[in-house]
Symmetry: C2
Subunit: 290 residues, 2 copies
């Protein structure tokens, strides 16, 4: 496995392979790789001739009050996981290489970024949209894979790739969960034992919401109230949002007709957790799509 730190080098590598007809896959990450990333890398490996994992803790998607400086960076372990999974190139740019002096261009996807995580983290999605556009410019992948765990991010990436005709196929893979349902996240390591015990209530709340829809309860306010009650069984869990939304626009749905995404964000102490579930009533029985 090659470790490449210079954007220019990986572009040269990629352009050479593209001319040879080789298909290139990219899994963009901030490192601290867990089994969710592993499943993305594994799926990419099966579909692409050459596979790049980027590891870049992107400063522009953190706010000043967030955990940029303490974000976990277990680079040796990350590289080992990439090697195990047959990654060809680990792309590890530095922040000054990505954002040299005078950098100012910003990509925004305003309607998708407005609500939910965008409210809690006002500049987050501009940072994400810009760095993803730049990573695609540098790596020139045919296919890029994202986890459904960051549902709004995945929707935003799909939208910007389509809008700017970037010509990268976007694949969104199911969230990988711990046995008790907690969605895997690099930030789960921050949870204390007590917090970890109640953390699965978020996914349980979303499951409860899904079961209601399956059972024919389609009024969003009723569903949202039940989800909230589930989370608030633990007094130190604070709901930021629990919402029934259109899966494409992410706008709130008053009533579920066919497809919906249940989006949730909670705080436990200083830790934020997010999760989501897709529900599709069209298929006779409800099932997770995408």
């Amino acid at each position: 496995m090659k470790i490449i730190r210079t954007p220019h080098s990986i572009t040269v590598w990629s352009e050479r392979l593209r001319r040879e007809g080789v298909t290139i896959g990219l899994v963009p990450t901030m490192g601290a790789l867990h089994d969710g990333h592993r499943s993305l890398i594994h799926a990419a490996r099966l579909q692409c001739d050459a596979l790049v994992v980027s590891i870049f803790v992107n400063p522009t998607q953190f706010s000043q009050t967030e955990d940029l400086s303490t974000y976990p960076r277990p680079i040796t372990r990350d590289r080992a996981l990439c090697r195990e999974e047959g990654v060809d190139v680990c792309f590890e740019p530095t922040a000054p290489a990505m954002y040299p002096d005078g950098f100012q261009t910003t990509v925004t996807v305003p309607a998708i970024a407005r609500r939910w995580e965008g409210t809690a983290r006002p500049h987050h999605f501009a940072g994400v949209a810009t760095v993803v556009t730049k990573l695609f410019g540098i790596v020139r992948p045919h296919l890029a894979l994202f986890g459904q765990k960051d549902y709004q991010q995945a929707a935003l990436v799909r939208r910007l790739v389509h809008d700017l005709s970037l010509g990268v196929a976007i694949q969104v893979r199911p969230t990988v969960r711990e046995r008790d349902g907690l969605a895997m996240s690099s930030r789960n390591v921050y949870l204390s034992a007590d917090e970890r015990r109640v953390a699965p209530l978020l996914s349980q709340a979303l499951q409860a919401g899904k079961q209601m829809i399956v059972g024919g309860i389609l009024d969003a306010a009723t569903i949202e109230q039940r989800m909230r009650q589930t989370v608030e069984q633990a007094p130190d869990m604070h709901v930021e949002y629990l919402a029934v939304c259109d899966p494409d626009s992410l706008e709130p749905l008053p009533v579920v007709v066919t497809r919906a995404v249940l989006l949730g964000a909670v705080r436990i102490g200083s830790i934020r957790l997010i999760d989501n579930l897709l529900v599709n009533r069209q298929a006779g029985k409800s099932r997770t799509t995408r």
Copy 2:
């Protein structure tokens, strides 16, 4: 010469050629081609194996009060010029193909877009930056050529290509002028005979400014005053700005040290004219760079 209207078709064409090692050039235009465009196309033809001219009157770079609906669209003449100059593909997308329902992604280059044309036309450069990014996504050129006439636009495109690592070489070619110095522009056809007679005062003002710098007068306020006096010889010419600026950042310079760009915009009746001159004191004698 092929005429292609579908973005997807030109991407397929371009990707096939790229795999064969063919270099692709792009001259993005809004049509109404004049000798300024012709010089860009000619220069591109000499440097690229395959040459695309895009003709798209981009609605998002016009404000509501501007001339979108009346902008000249002499498509038959434009295609003839392209054929004469050996263009391979005329890319003529429709607005709905470029901006389908739900389109929302926006590219901004805030520091470069803030002043000058950005003040007069607040959303103009977001429209330009977004459509150029998208055209590059669709056409995948190795090289794209722009006229120096739209100096701020060219600076913005250079910046965004660098910032987003789009991997397109940007070439900015000298402004082509009428015999009396008026910079060629698709909007010059709007000038009445009287307006056309005084229009060259803008380029004369910039020349006067350049001569002062060559002669050692380096104080921006003095230079700007002289340029303004030159333009205001014609009572119906109204100065929007005449400024001595840093050629990269476009920030105003109090004093010329080595390089400068003189930027000007004037109104005659309802017509706006812009023009610019580069000055370089480093080369012993002043000369135009780039």
